[in-house]
């Protein structure tokens, strides 16, 4: 079987079926805010699918549901870790934690800084959670920070005081340091200048070529055109109010 034929035969890494989400604000008299309904999407290895649509259409909400950070009201989020398929929408906490350790990486827009943990430790953590020894994890973290041009003098400093662009690169380094088969990218280049945007874009392209399946939000149209293999317009999944 040729390489291409095998790829076509491989099952999708991620399948989303009939996914729906609304928020009920009990402090606002039970106000219900529907976000998305009937989201269907399949993500293959080596694909980078851009979620498109206006602000508020539910792009970040979809990413967060795939990561298990938001609950789903209905539908399925099937993640293939190579051994089994797990439905994130109904999985137990420890199953979701296991997927986050081995299978799904998430680069959020903002870094949630932990007091006292230096940048190098923040980036190394996904590897440490997989049981990589400290020295090896720190070496890999250092290489990733170097690649993303985070100045060496910052590595031993907790990132809370870093600039927006520096924090974002620490966040990206953390997301890319471990070889996650699925990566969720929420505006990975939003606060970066042209030079650093190029560094991140090259990293994303390299991983995509290596077979990582990516689902991302890219507001910058140039970045999206360069990185995404296709786009899915989320406004098609708008929930009825």
């Amino acid at each position: 079987m040729s390489e291409a034929a095998r790829d076509t035969a491989a099952p999708p890494r991620l399948v989303i079926e009939g996914l729906a989400k609304s928020f009920t604000l009990h402090l606002r008299g039970g106000l219900r805010l529907p976000v998305v309904d009937g989201v269907d999407l399949a993500l293959m290895a080596g694909e980078c699918v851009a979620l498109a649509g206006p602000s508020g259409a539910g792009k970040s909400t979809i990413l967060r549901m795939v990561y298990g950070n938001y609950r789903a009201d209905a539908g399925r989020i099937l993640v293939d870790d190579g051994v089994r398929r797990t439905d994130v929408a109904t999985a137990a906490p420890r199953e979701i934690l296991a997927l986050r350790r081995t299978t799904i990486g998430y680069v959020s827009q903002f870094l949630r800084a932990v007091p006292r943990v230096p940048a190098l430790g923040v980036v190394a953590e996904p590897l440490r959670r997989r049981g990589v020894p400290e020295a090896a994890a720190h070496a890999a973290a250092a290489a990733m920070l170097e690649r993303l041009a985070v100045p060496r003098r910052l590595w031993d400093v907790p990132p809370a005081t870093f600039s927006g662009g520096e924090q974002q690169r620490v966040n990206i380094a953390r997301g890319f340091v471990a070889p996650f088969p699925i990566l969720l990218l929420d505006e990975p280049t939003a606060s970066l200048d042209a030079e650093n945007r190029e560094l991140v874009a090259a990293l994303v392209e390299e991983r995509r070529a290596a077979g990582t399946a990516m689902l991302g939000i890219f507001h910058d149209t140039d970045v999206r055109a360069r990185l995404a293999t296709r786009a899915v317009d989320v406004s098609g999944f708008a929930a009825a109010a």
């Binding site: 009990h26 298990g68 609950r71 906490p93 420890r94 934690l97 006292r116």
Partner: protein, 279 residues
């Protein structure tokens, strides 16, 4: 760091090897757990499974029943209903309240740790820091003075207390140091499950951050399962994988910590999350 403290233990103790954490079974199970105080509800109908290596936070306001629940889970408060089952090192699952008093005491001295809010409840204030740590080792059969002292010094170092303070009593320690000493005393026997009751709430904020960071590291390095009662959602977010939200003695919401805090479903959880002050 693990290698260093392991090396300090040169003599055998009567802590049995762990049989089957690899089997992937829960370490602690609560089933329909309830506690009444003469008609008043302490906690009611609490059920969950805790797995090896999981850290679960129990949050809620004062009077929500979280301390009562912790008392029942840790074998201190006999429940009025339901059961707590613990998987022992040999793999046998035992009802915690069906154990003999001696068996339960042994469990508390070896397999379990309990970190109290007030370090004075968890430490012996009249004996030295070294003795506080060494005592737990002696309780599991360590007898060699040099080895015990060596292990105690290694643990003081690990919780960031200068080992030169080994002969000082905790009465001369700051609140943060006492709390770290209490943690060392609990972890020296390599427990598999640690209960913590508001471990950081009596401390200054900067001291709190240091302690939380230390706890996070230790829990991860040792692969501990832990149940942490706290009223502080930021503490829960930082330290736990899972969370139970309690109100009026009942669990009103449970799940992954970041999911419950970022997408709270129950009205009361939404109120709790919305009430946190942002600096």
């Amino acid at each position: 760091m693990i290698a260093q403290t392991t090396a300090a233990t040169t003599e055998p103790t009567d802590i049995a090897p762990v049989a089957e954490d690899a089997a992937g079974l829960p370490i602690l199970t609560a089933h329909g757990l309830g506690k009444d105080y003469g008609g008043r509800i302490g906690c009611r109908d609490v059920s969950f499974e805790l797995w090896p290596g999981e850290v679960m936070a129990v949050v809620g306001e004062s009077g929500s029943g979280k301390s009562t629940l912790l008392g029942c889970l840790s074998g201190t408060l006999p429940p009025s209903a339901g059961a707590v089952r613990y998987r022992m090192r040999d793999g046998a699952v035992r009802d915690v309240f069906a154990l003999s008093e001696a068996e339960r005491r042994h469990l508390k001295r070896t397999d379990w740790g309990f970190v109290h809010q007030d370090a004075r409840d968890g430490l012996r204030m009249a004996v030295s820091a070294g003795a506080n740590v060494g005592e737990r080792l002696m309780a599991v059969g360590a007898r060699h003075y040099g080895a015990i002292r060596g292990e105690a010094a290694a643990w003081l170092d690990r919780v960031e207390i200068d080992p030169a303070r080994i002969d000082d009593r905790p009465t001369v320690f700051s609140g943060g140091m006492r709390q770290r000493l209490q943690i060392a005393r609990n972890l020296v026997t390599r427990p598999r499950l640690v209960f913590m009751d508001e471990p950081t709430s009596g401390l200054d904020v900067s001291v709190q951050a240091r302690l939380l960071d230390l706890l996070r590291g230790l829990v991860a390095d040792l692969g501990l399962a832990a149940i942490v009662v706290t009223h502080d959602l930021a503490v829960a977010r930082l330290i736990s994988d899972r969370i139970l939200v309690m109100r009026e003695g009942r669990v009103i919401e449970a799940g992954l910590t970041d999911q419950v805090l970022d997408d709270p479903a129950a009205p009361y959880t939404q109120l709790l999350v919305a009430s946190v002050l942002q600096p």
